[in-house]
């Protein structure tokens, strides 16, 4: 028998414009718990999607149990004994736990489904795992944590020899996490191998025999966990130089324009407070799901907040809707420009002017001439490359689309701009233009909140950093304090 249950050799995967994985080799021993860590976008998920047949590697080979194999799709991965526990739930909410467990292989008796047997077997199985809910309960009656456990049970029911768990504890409470850890340790005793992806380093130290660190699509290190320290891992996760990629800006900060006091949105964010000054770029750092977007949506009135006070320009405001936020001078550039930032079927003129149609009205009615002129002015200022303003937004490149979103919000004349992942999915050149634009705006006296999952970017651009973790503010760092290590260590702290 081979020592390794899984060997992935020299895997390279390219997507248009990016190399997601470069010459990655990853080996999992039989019966070990192998942690895979890295920043958002380091390539962990891509690697696991290749293992699961969702993507095909451009180069490299996969060896399972000593035999070279090709995995073309998820069904093949399942047949080869690879189980995956995803962060997102793939459960049917209106069906019972038992039905979800047996959904593909309902036992039949005399041509009919034997419900009694299913429910009994499912219950026995759940009990053996130590899960404290009934097999006959509907998924929609379960908490998020219990659903995650069902998701895990679903994979365990398949007798896999290799199980990949992607952030399995992100929605679990301490009690359930303990149950899961015991389960994982039992699986290990039975000789089942586990790939454990997590941002929580305590879990890695508690569980993993081996840890592999990915950064920018490359393996930085792979070593027995015992030989690593927390600081070493963090350093290796982020260890690139943060310097001249970001244009320099020097400007005086003005008065406080936005003050957020103990904003709470039940279950998502808790007691978030911060101040934002004129001319400042305030960075929001944290991992995916840490609550950054939720804070932005609450301030912009897109979602309710249950407690807390927002002050704009020293005045207390109650923001219940997005147009109210806009009236108060707050704009939000959403993280999803294709779905919510733009209407892709409309031309650039419509997309730019929509935030402030008052400006294009002449004698109370929209003037297409005024609209054309103003849109033209903004698109020239932002250097949007398009053959015509009548072009549909969908035909523009990602970078140019993002500039249109900027134009749209500059057109609205708001003073406070919240940028949610402003450089996501755009090329390096366009990124630099966006950075310059942000600096210009700050110099003109706008106040900017920048949410970014790219650590170097958010550190390089911000005057000050707020770090969120698990829906709470876990730290505030000034420029000098904000080293990648310090930010990352806060981001994984809650």
């Amino acid at each position: 028998m081979a020592d390794y249950i899984l060997e992935m050799h020299h895997i390279t995967k390219r997507f248009p414009g990016v190399v997601a994985l470069h010459d990655v080799s990853f080996k999992v021993r039989r019966g070990e718990i192998h942690a895979l860590v890295g920043e958002n976008g380091a390539g962990k998920s891509t690697l696991m999607k290749i293992l699961n047949g969702v993507y095909q590697a451009d180069e490299g080979t996969i060896v399972l149990n000593g035999e070279e194999t090709i995995i073309r799709n998820t069904t093949e991965a399942k047949a080869k004994g690879i189980g995956l526990v995803f962060q997102e739930f793939n459960l049917v909410n209106s069906l019972s736990v038992a039905e979800n467990l047996y959904i593909n292989r309902l036992p039949k008796r005399k041509g009919r489904i034997d419900w009694k047997a299913i429910n009994r077997e499912a219950q026995e199985f759940l009990d053996s795992l130590g899960f404290n809910f009934k097999a006959t309960q509907k998924i929609e009656q379960l908490s998020a944590a219990q659903r995650q456990l069902v998701e895990i049970a679903k994979v365990l029911a398949l007798n896999n020899s290799l199980i990949v768990m992607d952030e399995p504890t992100s929605s679990l409470t301490t009690t359930e996490t303990e149950i899961l850890f015991k389960l994982i340790e039992n699986l290990k005793k039975e000789g089942i191998s586990i790939v454990y992806i997590s941002h929580k380093l305590e879990e890695v130290f508690r569980l993993a025999d081996t840890t592999t660190i990915l950064r920018d699509g490359e393996v930085i290190d792979s070593a027995p966990t015992a030989t690593l320290t927390r600081d070493k891992i963090v350093e290796k996760m982020v260890g690139r130089s943060v310097d001249t990629e970001y244009p320099h800006r020097s400007c005086e900060l003005g008065e406080v324009v936005l003050k957020v006091d103990n904003i709470t949105r039940n279950g998502l964010i808790e007691d978030i407070s911060f101040e934002l000054r004129r001319g400042e770029i305030l960075g929001f750092a944290g991992l995916i799901g840490s609550g950054r977007t939720e804070v932005a949506e609450a301030i912009f009135g897109a979602e309710v907040y249950h407690e807390g006070v927002i002050e704009v320009g020293g005045k207390k405001v109650a923001i219940h809707s997005t147009h109210q936020a806009k009236d108060e001078g707050i704009g939000l550039l959403t993280e999803d420009r294709k779905e919510t930032g733009l209407v892709l079927d409309y031309n650039l003129i419509w997309n730019i002017t929509i935030t402030n149609l008052n400006k294009v009205r002449r004698r109370k009615f929209i003037s297409s001439k005024a609209e054309m002129q103003l849109a033209d002015q903004f698109s020239k200022e932002l250097n949007i490359k398009t053959p015509s303003l009548k072009q549909y937004a969908i035909n523009l490149s990602g970078g140019n689309q993002q500039k249109v979103v900027f134009a749209k919000w500059l057109f609205s004349d708001v003073d406070i701009l919240i940028l949610d992942e402003p450089t996501r999915g755009i090329d390096v050149g366009a990124k630099y233009e966006i950075y310059q634009l942000m600096n210009q705006l700050a110099e003109q006296g706008k106040a900017i909140i920048m949410i970014s999952s790219e650590l170097p970017e958010v550190i390089g651009m911000s005057d000050r950093l707020v770090v969120l973790s698990g829906g709470k503010k876990v730290g505030e760092l000034n420029r000098e304090e904000a080293t990648p290590e310090a930010v990352m260590s806060l981001a994984v702290s809650n």
Partner: protein, 334 residues
Amino acid sequence: MESKENSARKKKIVSFLREWGLIFAIVIITLVATIIRPAFLSGKNMLNILRAYSTIGIASIGMAYAVIGGGMDLSVGSTISLTAVITMLIINNATVATVAPASAALLALLVGILLGALVGAVNGAILAVVNGRMAESFIITYAMQIVVGAIAQAIVKGNFQAAQYRSGLFKQFGMGFTPVLFMIVVAVVMQFILVKTKFGRSLYFLGSSMKAAKMAGLKVKQVRFLAHLICGMCAGLAGVIVVSRVGSASVLQGQNYELDALVCVAIGGTSLDGGSGSILRTVLGVMVIGFMMTALNILGVQSNAQLIVRGTVIVLAVALDVLNKSMKLREVAQ
């Protein structure tokens, strides 16, 4: 390479049909019908067609607002019935009480429009509260259709109401060119609102993506409410004119109007997904149906066959829309 040329040609044909198809269809129908029955082209017949379809036209213009905003209104038929019944009651009572016919007619017109506005406002308010889109508007306005229909039924107690007057301003509403004039005025005003006001532009964004509209800081709820309010007003006006034209009112007066209006909107090239469309095209869509049905009548085609033709035209119109959309997507993918 050949396939590329082919697809380019196909794209040209489809976009040409989208641009000129409606006018083209009206011309073809007129030509064919006139060759077989020259009387089709007479001024009298033309006016008849326009007048007969003016109320569907007005209802369709209102429906276009609901559809562009990403919803629909199935209560249009019942709203027309209700306004028809109430209008008739007002006019008859006024005649008995010898109120000046002109003031009675204006009162009936006002009440009719307000009644429609009320029904629309209830639709709009509910949809605004539940953040409804297509599916919700389908259910809620269908429920409204049932409720409003029942109210109309209760008011006339199932009876058919005949007019108790012979002349006067009210009669004028449905005579000669007046209904057509109503439709033209409504069309011009509504097209203007759609193209030239903040509300009109917001309506397009709302229909295209409610989420994007919200994230652009638009007053999503208010726009949704207004769209349905306007749709109801148009139905109310249509109800008044129907009664005047027909000279009687019953609870079945508006039956199927909502579906006819939806069909006209769809034939007029307004995507049932919301976010696009125009009032001018909607009116042209109404005229295509009007010319076609009249031609079939004049040519003596059996009524069952007429329905089959009508169904076929609807399918073709929607197919053209789908084709156009898929081509646009393919263009983007290339």
